[in-house]
Symmetry: C2
Subunit: 334 residues, 2 copies
DNA sequence: CTGTTAGCGCTTTCAT
DNA sequence: ATGAAAGCGCTAACAG
């Protein structure tokens, strides 16, 4: 069916070695033979099998993308899609393939994700959406397989990470509210299994401390990044603190939920209550009022992760951490 | 480095043939030998190379996902992500891998997309986001490689397709407006390189005809699915027809653009002008007023496409077309 | 500059 | 029930 290197060799009247060399651009091939080989290969419509090549080269030029939960919870997808676009674009540029692997696959097969990657002979993996309490976090870090983790500060010889500087992101948000004159600022955080949640809380704390405002637990509500979580968080904080004039949410989705609640309750935003979110999802520009937020460079996170991985693969560099800068975007809610 | 079948064989004191058979669950293996082999394989942490297996089996159990333009134009991503999730989920269930290929990769490598798939030895491909004027449309249909195209009614022995029933979707939208009493209904369509655009126009036409309302060209504006396109379309149609009371947009994004324009111009929606979109993207529920729309079963499009492909691959069925039903969702704009 | 030879790690006849 | 041998399509010493 498919034409192999052997047939090209025969048709060109040379050995398969010569064909291989000619096609792979080695210099020690007579120019005429080379031309001949290329011409024949073209004519026979020869396409070298990457499978065969992978077997002998012991490299597949394929990267696995491990997505912890390829769920379609609103919000999560925006983040993932852009990161994915970044990864894919950069990978294509350097000639690597990307294969999607969801951990659910591994679960149903009862093999660890790492075994799965071994069977597929991935050259490296990028991990996205992993949680602090995921059982295979350590597997990733300790494995000899080069990996890059997104949004979790794991680092080792073969494991790099990339994340947004969430501490600073939070600082920007809270500092901005402080500059607007707010002093009673609540914080609705994401769930505690996300590494970013710890960092965002820290930034909130830091920003307050700079202004000598003591950090107090009961100004913080731990929700879960979702719309409903935002509503719950706002409700709870409002009950605890009648004098609260601003709330910072660890996700735009929560902020938008809060916005919805405010409308129902007749709370003016930003008049009665200022709001800042996190992520800069598209929605923030479409709701009314538009939502102030902290932008993460999602696409760039993807390209950066890829660069780190390729660095380990092709230039055998060691794992390192890369922190990307967030950006404050002021809109109507603050 | 990695342990091979040979080492398992040696450690178990049998031939590699026996190991292969034991591991792949053949029945003609003595139960004791089998147990022994499995035990040794487990102990040595043996992971069979799918690369080697693919080479000899001539099947990679890998599907290529061809995305015509992995761009991040707002709107397109929502559609793609959900379809992708559906494909991925179903593929994982039947033990196939999914590899992303963007056509830009092919372009930069100066090989046709089909050659690329041949080199990678995909068992099949799913094509998404292809346009009518894409040069390789025919390549897909005529290739011996099993394929499924999303949103383009291409069919052949090895090529199936899945799309939403766009004609009916449009009918639903326009009929709904007619039922609301509208008679002067404009239509802002997507770009003409999308197959869905033709169908959506047809549905618009049909629905009017049923009510004996003549279809006239100047009530239709061909835009491009984008926010700005929606604004341009609405402007133009309003200029042409002062008496227009409703507009149907071929995408939610355009409808939302229109909504924005209406707010600027003080046009009441739905009071002065009723609006219906298409796609049911998340945004429709978040903007104010919320947007009436035609929902496409995006996730299901992914799973269906996968089922069709697997059918061709594993049960060697022929290419067929599958039409999925859209659904009218009435919200505040109509 | 080119060909011979030996694998990469697996599956699969074909004997035994 | 098991093993020997061939071979999937390619690359890479090593000679010449």
């Amino acid at each position: 069916m498919t034409v192999t290197i052997r047939e090209v060799a025969k048709a060109a009247g040379v050995s398969i070695t010569t064909v291989s060399r000619a096609l792979n651009g080695y210099s020690d091939v007579n120019l005429d033979t080379k031309r001949k080989v290329l011409e024949v290969a073209e004519r026979l419509n020869y396409r070298p099998s990457q499978v065969a090549r992978s077997l002998v080269m012991k490299r597949t030029r394929t990267i696995g993308l491990l997505i912890s939960d390829f769920n379609r919870e609103p919000g999560g997808q925006y983040f993932m899609f852009d990161v994915l676009a970044g990864i894919h674009e950069r990978l294509a540029a350097v000639g690597y393939d990307l294969t999607l692997v969801s951990t659910t696959t591994a679960q149903q097969r009862l093999v660890s994700y790492l075994d799965l990657c071994t069977e597929k002979r991935f050259d490296g993996v990028i991990v996205m959406g992993i949680r602090l309490d995921d059982p295979y976090v350590h597997e990733v870090v300790e494995a000899p397989l080069p990996s890059v983790v997104i949004d979790l500060p794991l680092i080792s010889k073969h494991c790099a990470y990339v994340m947004t500087d969430n501490v600073n992101g939070s600082r920007f948000a809270v500092r901005h509210l402080l500059e607007r004159g707010h002093r009673k600022i609540g914080f609705v955080n994401g769930h505690q299994q996300a590494a970013v949640s710890q960092e965002r809380r820290r930034g909130y704390e830091d920003a307050l401390r700079v202004q000598k405002i003591p950090y107090e637990e009961d100004w913080v509500y731990n929700a879960d990044f979702t719309l409903q979580g935002g509503i719950r968080g706002l409700k709870e904080l409002l009950e605890r603190h009648k004098d609260m004039t601003a709330v910072y949410f660890a996700s735009d989705l929560m902020a938008i939920g809060a916005l919805r609640y405010c409308r129902e309750q007749g709370i003016q935003v930003p008049g009665d209550l200022a709001i800042v979110g996190f992520d800069n999802i598209d929605l923030t520009q479409f709701v009314s009022p538009t939502v102030s937020t902290i932008a993460q460079p999602r696409y760039e996170m993807g390209t950066t992760a890829t660069d780190l991985l390729i660095g380990m693969l092709d230039d055998n560099r060691l794992g390192e951490g890369r922190m990307l800068s967030p950006e404050l975007i002021v809109r109507e809610t603050s």
